[in-house]
C-alpha cells in the first residue's frame, strides 16, 4: 500500500505543478505582439518543464525503490515539481520566485551529484562497473541542474537581462549540447548494463550524440552544420525521447509478469520517465537556434 500512496502523492505533485503552472499562465493577457524572444523564452520554459517532469517521476520511482532511505531523497521531488510549475507558468510567475526555483534546482542537482558520487565511493568495490551499474546513477541528478539552468535562461531572456542574440544563442546551444552529451553518457551506461539486448537501445546513443555535435558546431560558430540540419537532429532527438517511453513500456512488458505485475516491474524494468529528458534538452536546443535567427528584435 505504501507504493500506492507514494504513486498517488507523486501524481498529485505532478498534477498540482501542471495545473498550477497552467492556471497562472491562463490568467496572463496575451501580449500585443509575440517576439522571437518571447517564443524562445516560451520554448525554454517547455524544455525546462519537460526535463523537470522527467526528473520528478524518475527520482520518485528510483528513490521509492531506494525506500527513501534519507530525507534528502525527497528533495528532487519537491524541487522538480516547483521547477516544473514555475516553468509552465511562463512569464506570469513572479520573476524572483522563478529565479529562486531555478537556482534551487541547480543547487539540488549539484548536491545530488555529490550524494550519488558518495554513494558509489563508499560501496565495496568502489568505482567499479558493478557500482556504476547498480549504485545511485552517477550523472542523473545533473538533469535537475540543467532544468534549473534552462529555466533561469528563460527567465533572464524574458526579463531582458539577457539579450536574445547570436551570443546568447551560442551559449545556450553549448549548454544544450553538453546536457545532451551527459544524458548520452548515462543512457549508454544503463543500456550497456542491459547489454543492448534490443537493437532499438542503440537509438538513444546515436541520434542524440549527432544532435549534440551539431549544437556544438553552432556554439563554436563553425558555420557547419546549418541551423536547418541541427534543427532536424534536435527534432529527431526530441522524438527519440518520446519514443523511449514507448520502448521502455515494451521493456516493462518483457519483465516477469509484464504489465500485470506493474508495481514491481515499473521499479525494476526500464524507467518510463527517463527518456523524455532528451526531449526537454532538445527543446532547449531548438530555442537556442531560434535565438540564433534573432536579428531584428
Amino acid at each position: 500500500m505504501r507504493g500506492r500512496t507514494a504513486a498517488i502523492a507523486v501524481s498529485g505533485l505532478f498534477a498540482a505543478a501542471v495545473l498550477g503552472g497552467l492556471a497562472a499562465r491562463g490568467r496572463r493577457r496575451p501580449p500585443a505582439r509575440r517576439t522571437r524572444r518571447d517564443h524562445a523564452a516560451r520554448q525554454l520554459d517547455w524544455g525546462a518543464a519537460t526535463l523537470a517532469g522527467s526528473v520528478l517521476f524518475d527520482s520518485a520511482i528510483e528513490h521509492y525503490r531506494g525506500s527513501f532511505e534519507h530525507l534528502g531523497m525527497y528533495v528532487p521531488l519537491a524541487v522538480a515539481s516547483a521547477s516544473m510549475a514555475t516553468s509552465l507558468s511562463g512569464g506570469r510567475c513572479p520573476g524572483q520566485l522563478r529565479t529562486g526555483t531555478s537556482v534551487a534546482a541547480m543547487l539540488a542537482g549539484v548536491a545530488g551529484l555529490g550524494f550519488h558520487v558518495y554513494d558509489i565511493s563508499k560501496r565495496t568495490g568502489g568505482w567499479s562497473w558493478q557500482n556504476l551499474f547498480y549504485a545511485a546513477p552517477v550523472g542523473a541528478p545533473g538533469a535537475l541542474s540543467l532544468a534549473g539552468l534552462i529555466g533561469l535562461a528563460a527567465q533572464q531572456l524574458r526579463s531582458g537581462d539577457w539579450p536574445s542574440d547570436q551570443q546568447s544563442g551560442r551559449a545556450l546551444a553549448a549548454l544544450a549540447s553538453a546536457g545532451i552529451l551527459g544524458d548520452v553518457a548515462e543512457v549508454w551506461l544503463l543500456h550497456f548494463r542491459g547489454a543492448f539486448h534490443n537493437p532499438a537501445m542503440y537509438l538513444p546513443v546515436t541520434v542524440p550524440p549527432a544532435a549534440s555535435l551539431a549544437l556544438a558546431g553552432i556554439a563554436v560558430g563553425a558555420g557547419r552544420p546549418t541551423l536547418q540540419t541541427t534543427r532536424g537532429w534536435l527534432w529527431a532527438t526530441a522524438a527519440t525521447g518520446l519514443a523511449g517511453v514507448g520502448f521502455h513500456a515494451w521493456g516493462v512488458h518483457r519483465m516477469m509478469g509484464g504489465w500485470r505485475n506493474w508495481s514491481q516491474n515499473l521499479l525494476d524494468g526500464p524507467p518510463l520517465p527517463a527518456p523524455p529528458s532528451y526531449t526537454g534538452l532538445a527543446i532547449a536546443g531548438l530555442a537556442s537556434l531560434r535565438m540564433m535567427e534573432d536579428r531584428h528584435d
Partner: protein, 548 residues
C-alpha cells in the same frame, strides 16, 4: 490419461511441451523405432542436450532420450524445497569407500535438461593449463584437447546461454566480453568481496547462466532465489530452455520418461540402437550412432550394463577404465553469522567468486586449484547442514535457525585428484526397471585433504575479516561428478578420443562430464557444453569426409 509429467510422457503425438508457455506445445518431429536415425542420444543434459542441438542443426536425424520428465518451468515448479526434489535422480544407488558420496540432490538430475534444470548456473572456463595438467603442472592427466580450441567453444556456449558476467575477468588469458552484464550483487556476495579485499586477492562477479536482461521469450532474473531447485521464470539458461528448444526446432525428437537400459551392438562390433523403457514397456530404437550422455554414474552404468558375449566387460571397455577415475569436487565451506541482514537465499546463490587459488601456484602444499564462492542455502538445506555439520537438533537447531537471515558463508569448488579406485561398478541388486543398480566407491587422497585444509583455513580468515562471527567449518561435502569414461590420446589408457568417440566401437560416442580426465577447480557445466559443441562440429566434419 494422467497429465502428470512424471507418469505420462509429454513429448508425443508430434508435439513437445512449450517451456515458455503454461500449457503450451511446440511441433516436434517424430521418428519410427524401426527407422535408423542418424543419432540416438541417451541423456539430455549439458552434454546430451547440447549435442542434440548441434547435430540436429547440422542436419542429422536425432532422437534424444531422457529418463526424466519434460517440465514446463512456468507451471510445474513450486517454491518448495521438498516438492522440487522431483528434479533429482533419487533412484537406488550404493555408496561406499572411505568417503562415501552423498548422492541424489545437487549432483544429480532426472529431467529433460538434466541437472542443468537445477544447477547453480556458475559458468566458468577451465584454466588453460588444466588441459595439460600432467605436462604443465605435474599432476593428473593430460586432455587430448587444446585450450585455444576450447576457448572458442567456451565462447559459443557463453553466447548460446547469454552468460551474465563481469566486464573484465581478472584471471587467465583475455576472453571476449560476456554477452550480458553481471547481476547486482547480494549481501552474501558483498561479504565475499570484503573478505577478498581484506586478504588482498582479486574477486569478481561470477559469470552466471541466468539472464540480466530479456532474451527471446525468456524473462530476466527476478532474484527470487530458489535457483538450485528449478527456476520458475525461465531466466535460468538451462539446457531445457536453450539447447533443447533449438534442437526440436531443427528436427530432433525428445523422448521423455525414456530410460535406456542397454546399448545393442551387432556382430561387426557396431552399435545398432538402444533398448529403452517407456510407457511400461521395453522398446528398441534403431540408430546409426549411439551417444551416451548420462553423466558420471549413469554413463558407466549403461556401458557396463550393455556387456555382451563380444564385450564381456562392458562396451568401450578394452582399457578396463569404464567406471574408473570417477572424480568429484570438494565443496567444503565456512559459515558465520553477520550482524547485518544477509538474506543470502535471495538472488542466484553464488554471485561473487575468487579464482585466486586456481591461478596462483605459489604457497600451496598440494596439486590442483580451487575457487570459492558466496552461498545462499535454502532453509531446509540449511537446517540439514546445521544438523549434519554441527549436530544441532531440537531447541539448539530451532534457535540457530533464528539466525538464518544473518548467515553468511564461503564455499569452495576444489579439484580432487583422479584415482583409479574411485569407481562406478554394478551391484547385484536391481532397480525398478530391473537394471543392476550402480555402486559408487569414493575415497579422498592426501592431496584432496591438503587442499581442503588450505581452503578452509583461507576462507575462514577471509570470513573473519568481515563482520561475521561464530565461524564454523563444514568439512564434509562434495559436488559435481566427473570422469568414469575419460578421453585421451591412447586407447590403452582412455575410453574415448578427443572427439568423444569410443576407441572400441566406432559408432558409439560418450559426451558428458564422464569424459573428463581431470576436473579442475571450477564447476564443470560450461566445459561439458563446450565439449559437446566441439563434438557436434567434429561429427559434422567427419560426416562430410565420410568417416562416420
Amino acid at each position: 490419461m494422467s497429465d502428470d509429467p512424471m507418469q505420462t510422457p509429454r513429448a508425443t503425438k508430434g508435439r513437445a511441451p512449450d517451456v515458455f508457455m503454461p500449457g503450451g506445445w511446440v511441433p516436434m518431429r517424430e521418428y519410427r523405432e524401426d527407422e535408423k536415425v542418424d543419432f540416438v542420444i541417451v541423456g539430455t543434459g549439458a552434454g546430451g542436450g547440447t549435442l542434440a542441438c548441434k547435430l540436429a542443426e547440422a542436419g542429422f536425424s536425432v532422437v534424444a532420450m531422457d529418463a526424466g520428465p519434460y517440465w514446463r518451468p512456468l507451471e510445474d515448479f513450486a517454491s518448495d524445497e521438498s516438492h522440487q526434489s522431483k528434479l533429482y535422480w533419487t533412484d537406488d544407488r550404493i555408496v561406499d569407500g572411505l568417503n562415501p558420496l552423498q548422492l541424489g540432490s545437487n549432483n544429480s538430475g532426472k529431467s529433460v535438461g538434466g541437472s542443468t534444470v537445477h544447477f547453480a548456473m556458475v559458468s566458468l572456463r577451465f584454466r588453460p593449463e588444466w588441459f595439460k595438467s600432467r605436462s604443465k603442472l605435474g599432476y593428473g592427466f593430460d586432455w587430448p584437447l587444446d585450450w585455444r580450441e576450447m576457448w572458442a567453444y567456451y565462447r559459443e556456449v557463453e553466447d548460446a546461454l547469454a552468460i551474465s558476467g563481469p566486464v573484465n575477468y581478472p584471471w587467465g588469458p583475455p576472453r571476449p566480453r560476456y554477452p550480458y552484464r553481471a547481476h547486482q550483487l547480494n549481501a552474501a556476495a558483498l561479504a565475499l568481496a570484503e573478505g577478498c579485499e581484506a586478504m588482498g586477492i582479486p574477486w569478481t562477479e561470477t559469470p552466471i547462466a541466468t539472464l540480466s536482461a530479456p532474451r527471446g521469450r525468456a524473462r530476466p532474473c527476478v532474484y527470487r532465489g530458489f535457483c538450485v531447485l528449478g527456476c520458475s521464470t525461465n531466466a535460468k539458461q538451462s539446457a531445457l530452455v536453450t539447447w533443447i528448444p533449438r534442437a526440436i526446432a531443427a528436427g530432433a525428437e525428445i523422448r521423455d520418461l525414456a530410460m535406456v537400459g542397454r546399448v545393442e551392438v551387432d556382430r561387426s562390433d557396431r552399435a545398432t540402437g538402444v533398448h529403452y523403457h517407456r510407457n511400461g514397456n521395453w522398446r528398441f530404437q534403431r540408430a546409426r550412432n549411439v551417444v551416451v550422455a548420462g553423466y558420471a554414474i549413469e554413463t558407466p552404468r549403461l556401458l557396463l550394463n550393455s556387456a555382451s558375449d563380444r564385450f564381456p566387460e562392458g562396451l568401450a571397455n578394452s582399457s578396463g577404465l569404464v567406471g574408473k577415475y570417477i572424480t568429484v569436487q570438494s565443496n567444503q565451506a565456512v559459515w558465520g553469522t553477520s550482524d547485518k541482514e544477509i538474506r543470502s537465499y535471495k538472488s542466484p546463490p553464488s554471485l561473487a567468486l575468487t579464482e585466486h587459488w586456481n591461478y596462483e601456484d605459489e604457497g600451496k602444499d598440494f596439486h590442483g586449484g580451487y575457487c570459492y564462492m558466496s552461498q545462499g542455502p535454502e532453509p531446509q538445506l540449511w537446517a540439514n547442514t546445521l544438523l549434519s555439520g554441527r549436530g544441532l537438533w531440537g531447541d539448539a537447531l530451532v534457535s540457530e535457525m533464528q539466525n538464518y537471515n544473518h548467515v553468511v558463508g564461503l564455499k569452495m569448488v576444489g579439484e580432487m585428484l583422479p584415482q583409479e579406485r574411485n569407481a562406478v561398478t554394478l551391484a547385484d541388486e536391481t532397480d525398478q526397471y530391473g537394471l543392476p543398480i550402480p555402486c559408487v566407491t569414493y575415497s579422498w587422497c592426501d592431496n584432496d585433504r591438503a587442499m581442503i585444509d588450505h581452503a578452509l583455513g583461507f576462507m575462514g580468515q577471509a570470513l573473519r575479516a568481515t563482520d561475521a562471527r561464530d565461524i564454523w567449518e563444514q568439512t564434509d561435502d562434495t559436488c559435481h561428478l566427473n570422469g568414469g569414461a575419460r578421453m585421451g590420446d591412447d586407447p590403452r589408457t582412455s575410453v574415448v578420443d578427443a572427439d568423444c568417440r569410443s576407441w572400441d566401437i566406432p559408432n558409439l560416442w560418450i559426451c558428458d562430464g564422464s569424459v573428463f580426465p581431470t576436473v579442475g577447480g571450477v564447476n564443470p557445466s560450461l566445459t561439458i557444453q563446450a565439449i559437446a559443441c566441439r563434438t557436434g562440429d567434429r561429427i559434422a566434419a567427419m560426416a562430410r569426409r565420410g568417416e562416420l
